[in-house]
């Protein structure tokens, strides 16, 4: 009799241990996958927000860098994570909205395989030009570019990068013809190309070019953001200059694998919204040229992400960029 009691007791305890209870969440360290190598823009955001996240959640947050394959390695790993709130993904515009169009054979589909919690930041991109280009506004630049089709170069971080796709969108809308020049080594390498005048223009993340703009080595003609940026208050945003769809730059958001219980999703939404509203976190991010942008609800973010997916899928299809 005693043996059966022991077995039954153990069974009850084990069953209870398996229940992910939102009230107790979190009870152990949480893994946050950043699908890029340490040192990049995504990684920086993760490291800036993690101290306060740890405080709010009362548990360790492990920033898990899994870089490679344009972020797909990290995304694949995160998709296999447990749907209990202990496996987060800090995805960005590239991994969650552009890659699905670039890599149609990739087994993970961000819209299908993840629950979107909230956007956290937006790093505005800007249309920058070399001083040799005599344009002061986007309109003047369009005229300048139209007058010399196929002569101007624009630098990007690669054929599938959001800088390239934004420029393709721009060219499509304005009827201009610029030549794409890719740089390996990320945004930094393209910025160097711009400085040396090898390429005359490009959509770069505002943060990476601010020092050069301040030194007069580069000009910003327009910023892709929701509203004017403090760093360059006199530069109109793209939507003011007629580009309605360019309201965001390189955004990042938090995701959990599909199947995560609703109470945990809500809890995470509340925590992240609170952390992103913190003044210290906001200041640190702003100093790096990154704006804090959060969603009103997980559904709103999911909607945003779907729109982004559709928008970039159209551009990718038109340009014919193929991932593999």
């Amino acid at each position: 009799m005693t043996k059966i009691k022991i077995v039954l007791l153990s069974a009850v305890i084990l069953l209870a241990a398996g229940v992910a209870n939102a009230q107790n969440y979190p009870t152990k360290p949480i893994n946050m996958v950043v699908p890029f190598a340490p040192g990049g823009a995504s990684d920086l955001v993760a490291r800036i927000i993690s101290p306060l996240l740890i405080k709010e959640l009362g548990q360790q947050i492990i920033v898990d860098n899994r870089g490679g394959a344009s972020g797909n390695i990290g995304v694949a790993y995160a998709a296999r994570g447990t749907a209990d709130g202990y496996a987060l993904l800090l995805g960005n515009i590239g991994t969650m909205a552009i890659n699905p169009a670039l890599f149609p054979k990739f087994q993970v589909n961000p819209v299908r395989d993840f629950i979107a919690i909230t956007q956290v930041v937006d790093a505005p991109t800007a249309l920058v030009v070399h001083p040799s280009v005599p344009a002061k506004t986007v309109k003047e630049f369009i005229e300048y570019a139209k007058a010399r089709p196929g002569k101007l170069n624009f630098g990007t971080a690669g054929p599938g990068s959001n800088g390239r796709l934004e420029m393709e969108l721009f060219m499509d809308y304005t009827g201009t013809d610029l030549v794409h020049v890719p740089y390996k080594g990320g945004a930094g390498a393209a910025a160097i190309g711009l400085l040396s005048g090898e390429v005359q223009c490009g959509f770069q993340s505002l943060a990476s070019v601010m020092t050069h703009v301040n030194a007069g080595k580069l000009k910003v003609l327009g910023v892709a953001a929701r509203k004017r940026v403090k760093a360059v208050p006199d530069v109109p945003i793209m939507s003011e200059q007629g580009f309605e769809s360019m309201k965001s730059g390189s955004w990042q958001g938090v995701y959990v694998p599909v199947g995560t219980p609703r109470p945990i999703v809500n809890r995470l939404f509340a925590v992240f919204t609170k952390v992103m509203a913190d003044a210290e976190v906001t200041k640190r991010l702003n100093d790096n040229g990154v704006e804090v942008v959060t969603s009103k609800s997980p559904e709103e973010f999911a909607e945003f992400m779907k729109n982004e997916n559709d928008k970039w899928a159209k551009v990718v299809k038109k340009v014919g960029v193929v991932g593999e």
Binding site: A37, P38, G39, D43, L44, R47, I48, S50, P51, D64, N65, R66, G67, G68, A69, S70, N72, I73, A76, L102, N153, G158, P159, G160, V179, V181, P182, Y183, K184, G186, G188, A189, A191, I192, G193, L195, S196, G197, E198, V199, A207, M210, T211, H212, N214, A215, R284, D287, N288, G289, V321, V322, G323, E324
Partner: protein, 498 residues
């Protein structure tokens, strides 16, 4: 002179107890991660960045900088002792440094590496102080055509000057170039030679090949040869370099510093090029090139100075123009921005305490590293006395931890093992892996710059000859080829007629 005022001001900032403390922590941590294979300054700085939020900007930057060049010092330690390159730039030190260790001269090798690095660090600190901004401006004149011509010169020189049989060297270079093509094509985004393995779409990691071929290959070879092992672990000579060693090292250290400074200032060059070129140059100018590969001290003095000079000078474009020359520099840039400082031409005037404090602390850091590392040489050398059967599993363990720490990828571990086997094979076939490493590093960069130069010139190959700097490198390449090939041809004719 204004420069002295600035330097004295810098000293007053850097010598505060707090900043000295940060400098020490940075150097110590840096040496530690330099010794451990795999995880490098980039990962460490990224992880420690949140800790720096609560420190002053000057202190944070001093500490992070200390980690960075401390890693250079540490990386050479394991290269010399156990043929394990702790950093990508220490790969070259393995060649002669390890041979010196096998001859019982690990102490002198480590000491000369430390002295050379210190000299290079001091010189570059002065360079930055005196000529920082103008040097950075000049570096901007290098665009794709110049980079391509420079690297082509380096590759051809390497192929012709490599140790051993020239045919084998050329074959290894070709193999290195082929291995370098694995990855994502820069223009179209297509994956090349990835065989649908997702981890290969970014190419094979340099560290994977370096550790596999050098460290693991060496272990396998050692295990197959018990005789050699005994000599290795029991023969430990003097800890100090002899007068002869010092005399031979002076010129290589100076040359290495110049080369390292040159490559350090150019944003588009990687970490290993400085030490590779220094090795090539030393081999070419040496009175007796056959000593290289068998424990020539010049093969340690030159490359070590070069890689330290390269590391220091990479700060120049970052501080004066705000251009990060490498991933680590990009992180430093980010760290500065978090503290509200935007590096660029204005930082010298707006935040002189930061600029000069950092420069002076670089010198202090170098001094601290020499002071830290020299006494440790005795400790490191005594590690060699550990029986090999206990040493090699420890080495392998560190290698595995190191590789895994890079990308949390088990696939890379398997790949390292494969290269370990290949390294052993090449050792038995007497094919030197150095040309392969060079081809592997330079190949992708050459290709990228070639295609970009052609893209921008709209298909006009004359662009390499019409731009003056590029033309200079092309002419130098032609001269090198003539100098190397003509004597061989003349000798051949001599054999036929005489």
């Amino acid at each position: 002179m204004e420069i002295f005022n600035n330097l004295i001001f810098g000293f007053s900032v850097a010598l505060s107890v707090q900043n000295l403390f940060y400098c020490f922590i940075g150097c110590f941590l840096g040496t530690l991660i330099g010794v451990l294979p795999g995880i490098g300054p980039l990962g460490t700085i990224a992880m420690l960045m949140p800790l720096t939020f609560s420190i002053t900007p000057v202190g944070a930057l001093i500490m992070l900088a200390g980690i960075y060049y401390g890693a250079q010092y540490g990386g050479s330690t394991t290269s010399i002792l156990v043929n394990l390159p702790g950093e990508t730039s220490s790969v070259i030190t393995c060649i002669d440094g390890y041979q010196m260790a096998r001859q019982g001269r690990a102490g002198p090798a480590l000491a000369i590496a430390a002295y050379g690095s210190f000299f290079a660090g001091t010189t570059c600190t002065l360079l930055i102080a005196l000529f920082g901004p103008p040097i950075a401006e000049m570096a901007l004149k290098f665009a794709s055509p110049e980079y391509f011509s420079l690297m082509m010169m380096g590759l051809i020189a390497a192929a012709l000057l490599a140790p051993g049989d020239m045919v084998k060297s050329l074959a290894m270079v070709a193999l290195g170039l082929l291995l370098g093509t694995v990855g994502t094509d820069v223009d179209s985004g297509w994956a090349r030679f990835s065989f649908d393995i997702i981890e290969l779409t970014d190419g094979i990691g340099f560290v994977v090949i370096a550790i596999g071929v050098f460290a693991l290959g060496e272990i396998v070879a050692n295990l197959g040869d018990p005789e050699e092992r005994i000599i290795f672990t029991t023969k430990v000579g003097s800890l100090f370099p002899s007068k002869d060693d010092i005399r031979r090292s002076i010129a290589p250290i100076i040359r290495g510093t110049i080369l390292g400074a040159f490559f350090g200032v150019l944003p588009g060059t990687g970490p290993a090029i400085a030490s590779f070129s220094s090795y090539m140059v030393e081999k070419k100018v040496a009175a007796d090139p056959s000593r290289f590969g068998h424990g020539a001290i010049e093969g340690v003095a030159g490359p070590e100075s070069a890689n330290n000079a390269d590391a220091q000078c990479k700060f120049i474009p970052m501080l004066t123009l705000g251009i990060p020359a490498s991933g680590t520099m990009a992180l430093m840039l980010g760290a500065l921005m978090i503290h509200g400082i935007a590096p660029g031409p204005t930082v010298m005037t707006q935040r002189p305490d930061l600029f000069w404090g950092l420069i002076v602390s670089m010198w202090i850091g170098n001094l601290m590293l020499v002071v830290l590392n020299l006494p440790l040489i005795g400790l490191w050398v005594s590690l060699l006395k550990v029986p090999y059967r206990m040493l090699f599993p420890a080495i392998m363990l560190f290698c595995c931890i190191g590789i895994y720490s890079l990308n949390n990828s088990p696939f890379e571990l398997y790949l390292t093992a494969v290269f370990g086997l290949l390294g052993f094979l090449w050792m038995k076939l007497e094919c030197s892996p150095v040309p392969l490493m060079l081809g592997f590093v330079l190949g992708p960069m050459m290709e990228e710059n070639l295609r970009r130069a052609m893209l921008i010139s709209r298909g006009n190959p004359m662009v390499f000859l019409t731009r003056p700097i590029s033309l200079a490198f092309v002419i130098a390449t032609v001269l090198i080829v003539i100098v190397m090939v003509v004597p061989a041809m003349r000798k051949r004719r001599g054999d036929i007629t005489g």
